[in-house]
Symmetry: C2
Subunit: 298 residues, 2 copies
């Protein structure tokens, strides 16, 4: 009798399927329309050397690393993974509307050949080789925002710097008060409203592209900053592997919608102004962190 | 050896304590400083007639209703609660980075004296009686944003309209495609990055002020739009009560930091530009939905 569903169309088709390019005009399309009309070249595979598999008891979390922005961190995290450093560690923190974090609760584990500190890869120089697809909309935290190689990013032409943005599902390397104290041994993932105040203050190293719900739905820690008070609450990490080291048959086959195509521009527009029947007032704007970076099974 | 914590100070002191006003200068203070210097008049109690207790098996979720923005919805929800309409219903949807939703899975329950449809209370007229404390920062979705009676809100002087904003923990009334099809029988709560595209498209009716983690950490539904596919996954709602109807000894004693005070302005500034030792680059900006509306036990 009464309204049974609501916002029925929002975030529909988060896993779209490819098809022949449609004849529909570019304006007035929904995200489902855009994805249905995408062609194979609109999608890219993950690079196995820049993909991590985090194995939890509930299943796999897939992370795409961002070596273009944090090369030393990406290399160190690969080194740590290959040494088995993370295996048997645990998620020790889940702070509501903020982050989950994993690492060595005791801080005693040997880093082996990995480095204990790294340069502060919080920003990188804007150069012609750095891809950047700007959003048409303004942003409060940066002069320009958009996407770089599939990651939400920001630029400031005055300073000549670019950086990754703390959107939902972004992955970073914890540090102490010293800006060079991060190593990638402690990893956090954004699980709440984008904490953009962290941008340029810490190294983002990648993004969760599958399995995010295995992190975001974890019980919140009741200690300060969401740390679990009781070690029994720690969430074990069975292993972290570089996908390139995993037998082909055990890899997760995913493709990511490229962010430098006309299809992506159409997708952004479909989200800036929703065309679904449910909406009455199109926003005429989209926040950087509300743009979906679409992932599908290959 | 390596960095054990990270962003150690972010979101600290989310439950501050009152104290004598300090002599510290207004600039350069942290949120903890601001809260430590707050005076009793900076805090307000919840109005029991505008407070809902949602009792789950894991405990209580406290919602503050916003009758100034959605008077008919608030009245209808109170009516439904007083009839016991919600008792024994369930959370039937949890969509990652978006919303949880509860209601009658079968749509068969009698609405009794409550109305089945309501006017579309998506916006309200700006008038001198509507409190509004603007943020100093621009917003992409609205001409002005700020706080109205403790709720994140937006205004457009050109249209003469104001509305509540879809920030984390905001509570709304589901509707179908007809804008007047909402009744408050189906309720959703924002659990992800602010879906501001919903602003002005649906009636927000309040905000979760305590127990948010009982909703945000629920398992995500695997059906379309995050609906639970198996009814066994439904999360039972034992009851929903208006706090005024609950014996005094069973009420949750909370106070909310007022959003129309010098203390609140100082809090906003402490978040716009973090003064904690950990930060290297202050943001010089804050997104509406990143401003904490602080709650403490009374």
């Amino acid at each position: 009798m009464h309204a049974h569903f609501f916002v029925m169309v929002a975030f529909a088709a988060a896993l779209g399927s490819a098809g022949a390019r449609a004849e529909a005009p570019p304006a007035g399309r929904t995200m489902a329309d855009v994805l249905a009309a995408a062609v194979p070249a609109d999608w890219r595979p993950l690079d196995p050397e820049n993909t991590l598999y985090v194995e939890l008891e509930t299943g796999r979390v897939v992370i795409e690393l961002a070596p273009r922005f944090a090369p030393q961190h990406a290399a160190n995290i690969r080194q740590l993974a290959r040494q088995g450093y993370y295996d048997g560690l645990a998620i020790i923190r889940s702070q509501d509307n903020f982050v989950v974090q994993w690492g060595d609760p005791d801080g005693q584990r040997d880093l082996g050949k990995a480095r204990a500190t790294l340069l502060a890869e919080f920003t990188t120089a804007i150069d012609p080789g750095l891809p950047f697809t700007p959003l048409p909309d303004p942003d409060g935290y940066a002069a320009e925002v958009g996407f770089s190689g599939g990651f939400p990013a920001a630029r400031d032409p005055r300073s000549g710097l670019a950086w990754l943005a703390h959107c939902y599902a972004m992955v970073g390397a914890g540090r102490g008060n010293d800006v060079e104290s991060g190593s990638g041994a402690e990893i956090y993932v954004v699980t709440g409203h984008a904490p953009r105040q962290l941008d340029r203050n810490i190294a983002l190293v990648g993004r969760v592209v599958a399995g995010m719900e295995r992190l975001s739905a974890l019980p919140r820690g009741r200690g300060p900053l969401g740390f679990y008070e009781d070690p029994a609450q720690h969430v074990p990490i069975r292993s972290v592997r570089v996908a390139a080291d995993v037998p082909d048959s055990e890899r997760t086959r995913l493709e990511i919608l490229r962010t430098d195509t006309a299809t992506f521009a159409a997708l952004v527009e479909s989200r800036r102004n929703r065309r679904d029947d449910w909406y009455r007032v199109p926003a005429g704007h989209i926040d950087l962190c509300n743009v979906p970076i679409v992932v599908r099974a290959r």
